[in-house]
Amino acid sequence: MNTSVPPVTDDDHILGPAGARVTLVEYGDFECPSCGAAHPVLQAVRRAFGPNLRFVFRHFPLRESHPHAAAAAEMSEAAAAQGKFWEMHDRLFEHQDALEQAALARHARKIGLDAARAERELIARTHAARVERDAESGRAIGLRGTPSFFIHGVAYRGPRDRASLVAALASAAAAP
């Protein structure tokens, strides 16, 4: 696997200020149990760093093993089109057992989206290209699994527990 990741652009889904001390990029899959397990850890890490962390999420749906992952990713993009990507991102990770089309429409309603529009876009695969662009950037650097983390653009291969991630990010943030 190539250890460097494509730079963060305005097209990415970003939480945190551009001038943050450290940037963490995650390639994730909404149906991946490991990503689901990492979700609360990442939330805690984000809270620990506050404005010192810029968190970036990129789609990397593993279509072979997770049949609903691509649709979930596209629904999250439909939410992004209505300005609610992170709400949908959190909801999907918290409801990984309900990612079929009807459930996705229900999630859209729950977070206050125009559910009919989101469902139309999902059926029309309006955002498939956007999801595929993220996935392609992951494949380009040799990604095989999720979640994959990059700190300051460099692959993080350490443990995915909170303490280890916080320590690694802090170390990267303090590096000259």
Partner: protein
């Protein structure tokens, strides 16, 4: 390799000793002194001789009072004498019990010590009244005490001082030295309160400055950790010794990642003083690019740990990188 420095610090000034407390203690001692003087005067130990003339000197007033008030030509009976001495012991040990409660935290407090130090001098007094000058009784007592074994771990090593103080008062009253017992009680309470107030020995930096640098020289680099600057800004948040917060379920362990400990610490502690109800510095880790300052913190309800952490990140900038709450499983 990461190094860890443990601190148990509490700045001077956070231990409040009100003026009312001191006044009440002084009044108490005056009243007890007067009472004991009167009671010991009324119930003399030695027989009085009748037919003496009325006293002309103040020093003879008590003898005259004894003769006028007490119709006990053979002196007060032994049981009455014992009661007077035991009453003296009880009255003189009560301020010590008060001092114990005042200077102990909820965690360090041991209720059995309170009962022990109150009852012990009474028992010791009674024993000494029984033994008096009898060598045979003294040997018997030693034999009995040797046969009975007590093993009890004290919660605090300092509690032993209270036990000894209590025995001392019992001894003094047991040999009718109420003056000595009073002096012991007053001196004990005074010294104990002063030591507690100053927290002498509780914090290395402070003790070092008080004892080794009386001229007030700046303690620039105490020999415990590089870049670890003792700072205790004034405020409402109580800085506590680390072990005092360990058992507090409402306190969390915060790991604060900083660029430079010395620069970050004042800002961090300013926030803690304001936003924490109680807090304690528990250590410093790491000697690489970043350092980790560990604090055990009980946040104010109005702020919450999340709010406190946000304030640390914002007000601690640019030195504070992250503030992570350590999960219980990680504390092992």
């Amino acid at each position: 390799m990461a190094k860890k420095v443990t601190e148990t610090a509490e700045p001077v000034g956070t231990r409040r000793l009100g003026r009312h407390t001191i006044i009440r203690l002084a009044i108490y001692y005056l009243m007890v002194g007067a009472l004991l003087l009167l009671v010991t005067g009324i119930f003399p130990k030695q027989p009085m001789t009748q037919g003496e003339v009325a006293p002309t000197e103040m020093a003879e007033a008590l003898d005259w009072l004894r003769w006028r008030l007490v119709a006990l030509p053979g002196g007060s009976p032994r049981w009455l004498d014992a009661c007077v001495q035991m009453l003296g012991a009880l009255l003189l040990v009560l301020p010590m019990a008060f001092t114990y409660i005042r200077t102990r935290t909820r965690l360090k407090y041991d209720h059995s010590i309170i009962q022990t130090i109150i009852v012990l001098p009474i028992v010791v007094t009674a024993i000494l009244v029984v033994v008096q000058d009898s060598l045979a009784l003294a040997f018997s007592l030693a034999g009995i005490v040797a046969a009975v074994r007590f093993r009890n771990d004290l919660k605090e090593s300092g509690d032993a001082v209270y036990i000894f103080g209590s025995i001392g008062i019992g001894f003094a009253t047991g040999i009718h030295a109420l003056g000595v017992a009073s002096a012991l009680s007053a001196a004990f309470v005074l010294v104990e309160l002063v030591l507690w107030k100053l927290n002498l020995g509780g914090e290395f930096d402070d003790t070092f400055r008080r004892l080794c640098m009386p001229g007030g020289a700046d303690l620039a680099a105490p020999p415990h950790s590089a870049g670890d600057v003792p700072v205790a800004p004034a405020g409402n948040g109580r800085k506590r010794a680390s072990e005092e917060l360990e058992g507090d379920a409402r306190a969390v362990l915060l790991k604060i990642y900083v660029l430079e400990a010395a620069a970050a610490r004042p800002a961090i502690e300013r926030v803690l003083v304001r936003d924490a109800k109680q807090w304690a510095a528990t250590g410093v880790e790491g000697d690489g690019a970043s350092k980790v300052l560990e604090y055990r913190v009980r946040a104010r309800k109005s702020v919450g740990i999340e709010g406190l952490r946000d304030h640390l990140l914002v007000e601690g900038a640019p030195h504070v990188i992250a503030a992570d709450e350590v999960e219980p499983a990680q504390r092992l």
